[in-house]
Assembly symmetry: C2
């Protein structure tokens, strides 16, 4: 296949949790790194976007897991830009283990944002075309998540070191806010099988958000990151028993 | 020099803050990685210690900075075990930039802990000797820190993903708790020049600690991580204006 970009990555101690499994936060951080490396490779990195006052923001992930990588595993991260339309760019990620087996598949939606106005911009062909893929008018509809009815939440204050050089809270932190609210007993006994997550609005430094969580009858969990009535991100996570 | 272990490391986006500087938390995380890689290299890794129910814990750092590394820099991390006595093992770290200039120097004190009792154990020669260095009876006294009188603090709840596979809150998180409490205006305008930090007691999952901070007349800052009257870690940080 064309335009697939690859990066080897070994899972080290700071990627893992008490069970020696890679965390979702670190997994997503490395995926974003791979897409950044591809941006550099095709000459469309942050330095190219900076004079245009533009930056990429991820609005959605769909993820499927055979299993989570564990401490010491030698992985290969792969990514491919697939298609784009006026506002949305679609990209896939895969994680292969040392045997070459795909253990994680992800699809992500990227948008271009004006870094001052924090508003969506249409995607110029000269920025996206070098990645490969094709233009089409079709907009991918994201799966609709069930309403969350729980009133239980834990608060998370946005910290200085949660911000990245886009002055933006890196999306990877939302995963930790969402999952931490499930508590150690649940997280020790379960491992992620499937995730749908949507990022609606940006949280800002100093805000204190509420991470709501509800366990559904089918064992999946619903998550919302809110501040009062404002929804910033929501997700549904399906689980498997820890191997 | 003998027994120096080296690791190249490129500073990527998730290592850096809003000013594109490497964070203290990530710097320390990479230092620990380098010492872990050396442990593997000399055949004294976590798997060797596990049947003995032992793990390394860092109790203290002294750090001197010419400057913080920035996004995209290609660094070399170096470490050397220097000396040990009955309970304490001393190790140095250096960070060199692409020109080969040392921009950071650190000394660290390691102890061996029984992972069940969470108690200090004396250091067996067969565990420490392979790293090189020499045994001496001298115990290094750490600089005494001034008393902190401030009553201002921010609370930090220990999260599930703060724990590492030793069921221990990784020390690197204390740096973020301490510095975050200074606020964005201070952190945007200043860069770390020198740090003395001591880790006294382990915090546990679910605990909520208070991060106290006081700015002294000389511009340095004092930090304490406490839960009520119990002190878990304290530090003094000297600053330079941001270049």
């Amino acid at each position: 296949m064309e335009n697939i970009f690859k990066l080897p990555y070994e899972v080290v101690y700071y990627d893992t949790d008490v069970k020696k499994r890679m965390t979702l936060e670190r997994l997503v951080a490395v995926c974003v790194l791979v897409s950044e490396e591809q941006s550099t490779f095709v000459g469309r990195d942050a330095a190219y976007l900076a004079p245009l006052n533009l930056g990429w923001v991820i609005t959605q992930y769909e993820m499927d897991f055979v299993r989570m990588p564990i401490l010491g595993e030698k992985l290969e991260f792969l990514t491919q830009a697939t298609s784009w339309n006026k506002y949305f760019c679609y990209r896939n990620f895969w994680v292969k283990d040392a045997k070459g087996e795909v253990i994680i598949e992800m699809s992500a939606t990227f948008v271009l944002m004006d870094l001052t106005e924090r508003k969506l911009k249409s995607v110029p062909e000269n920025i996206i075309a070098p990645f490969g893929g094709y233009k089409e008018n079709k907009i991918k509809r994201s799966p609709k998540l069930p309403a969350l009815n729980a009133t239980d939440f834990l608060p998370y204050r946005v910290r200085y070191f949660d911000l990245d050089s886009n002055q933006h809270v890196n999306n990877s932190h939302y995963f930790s806010w969402m999952l931490d609210a499930l508590g150690a007993d649940f997280l020790n006994a379960h491992e992620v099988k499937k995730v749908t997550i949507r990022f609606d609005k940006e949280v800002a430094y100093g805000q204190e958000v509420q991470s709501y969580v509800e366990i559904l009858d089918d064992g999946s969990t619903l998550h919302e990151i809110k501040e009062g009535p404002d929804l910033f991100a929501n997700a549904q996570v399906w689980w498997q028993d820890r191997a």
